[in-house]
């Protein structure tokens, strides 16, 4: 009985992972295909790196990638600060005025359809410009503000769940020994939740780097991000350069995620050994 059950489980898991990974793998394989038809394998001239060269010399894509990079880095750094403050407040202060509202405000962006968030942010920026003259026009600043609004919610969840699993005894001990709360936070809490803050930063970076909808609403002329350029290309059908872009993205993400997970597993083990 047990054998049959585990056979069923393994089949389900294998099917699920095949579903998740076949599309990604097929993009990677066809990024080396010489044919412009993308999915028709040209066995005479493939594999080839020609689309890699053509992507890396595509000005439009490179410019957009540079804008995306700037927005993503500023967004990730800002979101980490705001998200950690919110997560810390929600995890450590059982009661304060506005707790319910804050909790609702950080949960909602996680599920809010992006078209609604995007539209509402744009209308806010337009109204602000009309009344106080800021922000003058739309571009990198407005996009970054938009991204931070939903990214900080994700950071908050990550930090909050990390804080919920660690014992407050260390913080209390430090406080008993006379450390002031800010010092306790920077000397005790921050190093312990650092892995969560790092994952939060990476998550916020990725969310911003991938965002299409909120960027489209809040960007201005001349500030197209990478997803916006990709979207306009993909609407016209498949393009070999996009396969290359996807392959490079997957490779970078895999390296970073696997690297960070290994590093975290090792530091967790070291922590256990030290204890």
């Amino acid at each position: 009985m047990n054998d049959r059950r585990s056979f069923f489980m393994i089949t389900c898991i294998a099917f699920g992972f095949a579903f998740l990974y076949i599309p990604i793998l097929s993009m990677m394989v066809f990024s080396f295909n010489a044919s412009k038809l993308v999915t028709v394998w040209d066995s005479a001239n493939s594999p080839t790196l020609k689309w890699y060269y053509s992507l890396l010399s595509n000005e439009e894509i490179l410019d957009a990638a540079w804008i995306s990079l700037k927005v993503a880095v500023i967004n990730a750094s800002g979101s980490v600060i705001l998200g950690t403050l919110a997560g810390f407040g929600l995890a450590r202060f059982a009661r304060f005025r506005g707790r319910f509202t804050l909790n609702a405000m950080v949960t909602a962006p996680l599920v809010m359809p992006e078209v609604i968030t995007g539209l509402s942010l744009l209308l806010l920026f337009v109204a602000l410009e009309q009344t106080i003259g800021w922000p003058a026009g739309r571009g990198i600043t407005t996009m970054t503000i938009g991204h931070m609004t939903f990214s900080m919610a994700y950071v908050c969840v990550v930090v909050q769940s990390r804080l919920a699993t660690f014992d407050t005894a260390l913080e209390e001990a430090a406080m008993d020994l006379g450390a002031r709360p800010p010092k306790v936070f920077f000397v005790i809490t921050l190093p312990i939740i650092f892995p969560a803050i790092l994952s939060g930063w990476l998550l916020a970076f990725t969310l911003s780097w991938d965002d299409l909808v909120i960027s489209s609403f809040t960007s201005g002329p001349g500030s197209s991000t990478l997803p916006m350029v990709v979207f306009s290309k993909v609407r016209l059908g498949v393009s070999p350069e996009i396969n290359v872009l996807a392959t490079l993205t997957v490779a970078a993400v895999t390296l970073i995620i696997v690297g960070v997970s290994l590093w975290m597993a090792r530091s967790a083990r070291a922590e256990k050994l030290a204890a």
Partner: protein, 293 residues
């Protein structure tokens, strides 16, 4: 102000200004008239003369949404698509979450990483991958023809089928992760006890695991359902011109027709519809974290 206040005041004000206040503006503009100007709507109130304030609220945009059948159809279709997508995610994702939760700890981390990886890769690029798989001379058709199963390519791209595949594919990790977190906390001895007392494994699953994982299933389904109702990218890329989804209608009203007030009214309608689900999600979430302490 106390130290506690100082910690939360910054994120609080940020979200208030950039998340809550914008909705008030959307509400305001949904009552305005369309105007051929920049920005393309008429002000709601105007000072006319010295001390007279003229307020022009009109419900035309809302009346319009309910008289033109396009909007109601799009809304109902979005709800249907989101509902069945959540159901499909649950059917595919439950065994996966369950299997991962019961795997050996070393293997469990690897499997979990494999679920998370696609989630970190651009949604746009993963949806794009399906265009290459589903199109007439795409990978799936080529393989099926090569195997001799079909002789003519199947039409899959730009159909509701493609849209469902795209949504289920993109949102699957969102269902698996909360469900896994819930199942991982379960006491498996309960199952052993039930089986010792004569329950068949399926019975034990149905009577113990399934009810205990209710919150995980609800949280995961909600994380699929709510954003899927307003989904734009997937219907735009895979659904073809006939895929009537409310997120797309809003996008077109805004970008193609420049009808900002109509787009705002659509957003308000969608929001009214989704807020109960969001509140439900939040209460499930807080039950879940209260239960784990």
């Amino acid at each position: 102000m106390t130290g506690r206040g100082l910690v939360v005041v910054l994120p609080y004000l940020w979200l208030l200004l950039f998340f809550v206040v914008p909705f008030a503006i959307v509400l305001k503009i949904s009552f305005s008239d369309v105007d051929l100007a920049i920005p393309p709507y008429k002000p709601l109130w105007e000072w006319t003369g010295k001390n007279a304030l003229a307020i022009k609220v009109n419900f035309n945009n809302y009346v319009f949404l309910f008289t033109d059948s396009l909007y109601i159809k799009a809304l109902l279709n979005s709800l249907k698509v989101a509902f069945f997508s959540s159901l499909l995610c649950l059917i595919i994702g439950y065994p996966m979450a369950y299997g991962i939760a019961r795997a050996r700890p070393a293997l469990r981390n690897v499997l979990l990483l494999l679920v998370i990886l696609p989630f970190w890769t651009s949604l746009l690029l993963r949806v794009y991958a399906w265009i290459g798989l589903l199109k007439a001379n795409g990978v799936i058709n080529n393989v099926l023809i090569w195997l001799g199963i079909i002789h003519e390519p199947l039409t899959m791209l730009y159909t509701p089928f493609a849209m469902y595949v795209g949504i289920v594919y993109s949102y699957l990790p969102f269902l698996i992760l909360p469900l896994y977190a819930n199942l991982e906390k379960m006491d498996w001895q309960l199952l052993e006890a039930a089986e010792d007392l004569g329950c068949r494994p399926w019975q034990a699953f149905y009577k113990i695991t399934l009810p205990l994982s209710r919150n995980g299933m609800l949280a995961g389904s909600m994380l699929v359902f709510i954003p899927a109702v307003g989904e734009f990218v997937i219907p735009a890329l895979l659904g073809g011109p006939n895929a009537l989804m409310i997120g797309r209608v809003l996008w077109d009203e805004f970008f193609s027709n420049r009808a900002w007030p109509v787009a705002s009214a659509v957003a308000i309608l969608l929001l009214i519809l989704l807020v109960p689900f969001m509140m439900w999600y939040q209460s499930v979430q807080s039950n879940e974290s209260a239960g784990s302490k």
